[in-house]
């Protein structure tokens, strides 16, 4: 009984941590964009205010039960993935279900949310939502392939498919995997640009083209839940990349430093970029990232 209680408390702490860190990173993203555009920008805690406001806003309408469940699917995927990603390398407090799933599972778990969300968006009947969804799914086919290639390269190189196994490899050898297999890191980072769908890959929610795409019928608590889910999910992705490529983190400060450094890659790449068309985005991922992925697997296997 006691262990279950501790587990639940640990899970809640993890969720809270992911939420807070993700929210602050979202604020930092806006701040960075503002500073690069020579603006003051919103305060760094602006996203908290936004989410609180969205939850306090009245949301009395929906277009059916799938729309009602769409954000729930999204947050389920985010939190479940979070449970399977090791946050800290040692200590039991944040190790929720780290040993119960591996990378292949996580890759699938991470698309679960967007598909559930897509169902919700589909039921609204808004043509922009459906267009946004098709864009998002097409782009996903683009970036999943180099990402998976990088993962397969690492798995074959170190004969483990679990994330904890990869952390252990890095702790034993003392080198981060981004140096052990730099090609895999290149491919994965380029895929990460697509995963975050910041510019130039923000084709899904492009406000000027498809009026924010899948979320165009979602307001109030639905949008609030999706923002929550989005910031948790951003943290999940960053923590996963830190675990795999940067040797994990031994305490929270290191974790924040590493994830923030990683987070700045898509942010800074995004601020100076315009937006791709969908097929350009797909072919972007199928050129250099794919090449690096091939080299990474060759490098790992031979």
């Amino acid at each position: 009984m006691n262990t279950i209680l501790i587990q639940i408390l640990g899970a809640l702490a993890t969720i809270l941590l992911a939420f807070i860190v993700g929210m602050f990173y979202g604020g930092a993203h806006r701040k960075v964009i503002a500073r690069i555009q020579n603006r003051v920008g919103p305060p760094i805690y602006q996203n908290f205010i936004d989410v609180l406001k969205l939850y306090s806003k009245e949301t009395s309408i929906n277009h059916g039960v799938m729309q009602h469940m769409g954000p729930v699917f999204a947050i389920t995927a985010s939190i479940t993935s979070l449970m399977f990603v090791p946050i800290l390398t040692d200590g039991n407090w944040f190790s929720n279900l780290n040993f119960s799933g591996d990378l292949v599972f996580l890759v699938y778990m991470m698309v679960f949310g967007s598909l559930g969300m897509a169902l919700g968006a589909g039921q609204t009947g808004n043509p922009n939502s459906a267009i946004g969804v098709t864009r998002g799914l097409s782009q996903m086919v683009g970036y999943e392939i180099p990402f998976v290639m990088a993962m397969v390269a690492l798995m074959t190189q170190f004969h483990t498919t679990s994330i904890t196994g990869m952390i252990a490899v890095q702790q034993q050898s003392g080198t981060w995997l981004m140096f052990s297999n730099p090609f895999a890191f290149m491919a994965a980072i380029m895929a990460m640009l697509g995963m975050f769908s910041y510019a130039p890959f923000d084709i899904v929610t492009a406000p000027a083209e498809v009026s924010s795409g899948p979320i165009s019928e979602f307001g109030g608590k639905y949008l609030g839940m999706m923002m929550t889910s989005g910031s948790i999910f951003a943290f999940v992705k960053l923590a996963l990349f830190v675990d795999i490529f940067m040797g994990g983190a031994s305490n929270l400060v290191v974790l924040v430093i590493k994830t923030f450094a990683l987070y700045m890659i898509p942010v800074l790449y995004g601020v100076i970029s315009p937006r791709y068309r969908t097929e350009q985005a797909i072919t972007y991922f199928w050129k250099w990232p794919l090449f690096f992925g091939f080299i990474a697997i060759l490098y790992a296997a031979f």
Binding site: E58, T59, S60, I61, N62, H63, G64, M66, H68, P71, V72, F73, I75, T76, I79, L97, F99, S100, G101, D102, V104, F105, Y108, M109, V111, F112, L115, L119, G122, Q123, T124, G125, N126, A130, V133, T134, L137, M140, V141, G142, E144, I145, M149, V152, T156, T160, T161, S162, G165, S211, E217, G220, K221, Y222, T278, E279, I282, G293, I297, A300
Partner: protein
């Protein structure tokens, strides 16, 4: 009487009786076929795998009986057959020539059972032909052979049958027996070249039925044009006969020295699955989409079998069972939509979710299983397949599988959106939920999909005994898989399915409760015409659903791959042959004088050549 003979007599006799019954008492026909099939199922399950029947026909020794491998496929056949027949009774109501339909339906199920129970090549071939013919008759059930789909199916089946026959003859000329046991025992004694030839010829035969590239061109039309209640069996069970054949060939007739065959088959299957997935993505008809998706999914199964690792074969067989479950559900659901709405063209249908909620639920569950998302059964199969390929060093193959299954999300979403989501149209306001006898089979099958996600053991148990009969020994950390809900690979990495399920369901329920309770008082439904559309007021008759050219950007990105269809190559081949025959016809122009000239010329040639080379 031996229960195996009783099984076949019941099936084939019952099929004929159904035809006669339909002539005289059509009212009893439906009840008869369903009861017959249930009786056969009962008989099948009471027949053990140890039951062997030996007899001689025309001096050829034959043997019938189930092995644990064929028993596994037999379970698929009888379960799907029974459910599809129950479904048929409502789906086919009011259509013509039902006696013909049910006769061929029962014939093909009986032939499938026959294939599975035959332990010698002659009866295998015999039942294979019955299966081909009965399925051909159902493909051309509607009477007119649009686009020559039936002809295409027949030609490819004939090609397959001839190569099988050739292989059987070669085998017999070396071994002198048709019994599978003898063949398996002494196949490796004959020359390696002949071994490969036999394997390839048999695989052409089985590849046609399992719709493997480049032998798949018949499949999309044949699947999509036969009645959906039969397609559920056609794609779910009948194509698994090809898989069963592949398993026999790959595990028993190909020695480990010929690993190249495995690699080639795996790569062909991978290319099949990628290309078929891409074609499925760009379809706008639900039936054709599912047909292409079937081709792609059988690609995974064969990759698993050809990987020749314990986990891979297990993944292949698991996916085979699961594909039978979810794909037949999907075909049934599409059939339900077709029956209730009248079309399956996704550019015309939209917003059926509130009209046909249970069909939607069945489709949703099957689509989740198809896409391989946790926590349903499809994930278990996909996970095992990936881990098997990664741990056995098929690095680029696993990328192909990933590409194909990621692109599968696209058509998975398409089929859900195209039929059930989107705007609710007044023209579909009258649509009712499908009748209960169509819903129950669908929901039973979706229930199996759900259950196999957290407790795959009940499917893995028969699979493991099937694999033992194929000669695979477990090299995994755990022997008794069916007791476990944790999947392991050979490196010791794992997925704990119950933890996954608990986490997903727990978080889902909490979040759902939160979002439902918050502001529950004011919650109300508004129609899908009430959407933000830059202030424009959408009238009920305006259809704003985005349906046409759904994945156009994706299509543009993959266009270089789709420019040439395999079908075109066959057409070109046919045209080339026609041109050749045209050319030949110039000589045989029916004019007697020309023939006289040919005779003269030949004589002259003979004279000249004869004096020069043969010296007379």
């Amino acid at each position: 009487m031996n229960s195996l003979i009783l099984l076949l007599i019941l099936m084939f006799g019952g099929a004929l009786f159904a035809f006669i019954l339909n002539k005289f008492v059509p009212a009893l026909r439906d009840i008869f076929v369903v009861l017959l099939m249930l009786g056969v199922s009962y008989l099948f399950f009471s027949t053990g795998i140890s039951n062997r029947l030996n007899f001689d026909v025309l001096g050829i020794h034959m043997q019938w009986g189930f092995t644990s491998a064929s028993y596994l496929f037999g379970i698929i056949v009888v379960v799907l057959g029974s459910l599809a027949l129950i479904y048929s009774t409502a789906y086919m109501k009011g259509k013509d020539r039902l006696g013909y339909f049910y006769m061929n339906f029962l014939f093909s199920i009986g032939a499938m059972l026959g294939i599975l129970m035959s332990r010698d090549l002659i009866s295998l071939f015999f039942f294979w032909e019955i299966m081909t013919w009965s399925s051909y008759f159902i493909v051309i059930y509607s009477g007119n052979d649009v686009d020559r789909r039936g002809l295409k199916y027949m030609i490819f089946s004939a090609i397959g049958a001839y190569s099988m026959l050739m292989a059987i003859v070669i085998v017999n000329s070396f071994i002198g027996s048709f019994l599978l046991e003898d063949v398996f025992a002494s196949i490796f004694a004959i020359g390696s070249g002949y071994q490969i030839a036999i394997a390839i010829l048999l695989m052409i035969g089985f590849g046609v039925k399992s719709a493997m590239m480049p032998l798949h061109v018949w499949a999309p039309r044949a699947y999509s044009e036969s009645p959906m209640s039969y397609t559920a069996v056609f794609s779910g069970a009948l194509s698994k006969m090809g898989v069963f054949g592949f398993a026999l060939v790959l595990f028993n007739l190909v020695s480990t020295q010929n690993w190249l065959i495995n690699e080639v088959v795996a790569w062909l299957a991978a290319i099949t699955s990628v290309l078929a997935t891409f074609y499925a993505v760009i379809q706008s008809d639900a039936k054709k989409l599912l047909a292409y998706s079937s081709i792609a999914q059988i690609g995974y199964i064969i990759i698993g079998l050809a990987s020749n690792t314990y986990l891979g074969v297990m993944a292949g067989l698991f996916l085979a069972v699961l594909h039978a479950v979810f794909k037949s559900t999907l075909f049934m659901a599409v059939g339900a939509v077709e029956r209730q709405v009248g079309t399956t063209d996704m550019t015309k249908i939209s917003g059926l979710i509130r009209r046909m909620p249970w069909t939607f639920v069945a489709t949703l569950i099957s689509i989740i299983a198809l896409a391989g998302l946790p926590p349903l059964g499809g994930f278990v199969g996909k996970w095992m397949l990936y881990e098997a390929l990664i741990t056995s060093g098929h690095y680029y193959l696993v990328i192909m599988v990933f590409l194909s299954s990621t692109a599968a999300f696209l058509y998975s979403y398409r089929i859900l959106f195209g039929m059930f989501l989107g705007q609710e149209e007044p023209e579909f306001a009258h649509v009712k939920e499908a009748p209960l006898s169509m819903l129950i089979p669908m929901l039973i099958l979706s229930g199996i999909s759900v259950l196999s996600g957290s407790h795959p053991g009940f499917i893995l148990e028969p699979i493991q005994s099937a694999m033992a009969s194929f000669g695979f020994q477990s090299n995994l950390p755990h022997e008794s898989w069916w007791e476990l809900t944790v999947l392991f690979n050979t490196w010791g990495d794992k997925v704990a399915l119950v933890n996954v399920l608990t986490s997903i369901v727990g978080v889902f329920l909490i979040a759902l409760a939160f979002i439902t309770i918050k502001g529950y008082k004011n919650q109300r439904y508004v129609t899908t015409k009430d959407i933000s559309s830059s202030g424009e007021i959408i009238q009920p008759e305006d259809n704003m659903t985005f349906q046409i050219d759904f994945y156009k950007p994706f299509e543009r990105a993959i266009w270089p791959l789709l420019k040439r269809k395999i079908d075109d190559y066959y057409t070109d081949f046919g045209k080339g042959l026609e041109a050749l025959f045209d050319f030949v016809r110039r000589f045989y122009n029916g004019n007697g004088q020309f023939y006289a000239i040919y005779v003269m010329a030949f004589l002259a040639l003979l004279l000249i050549a004869g004096t020069k080379y043969f010296g007379f």
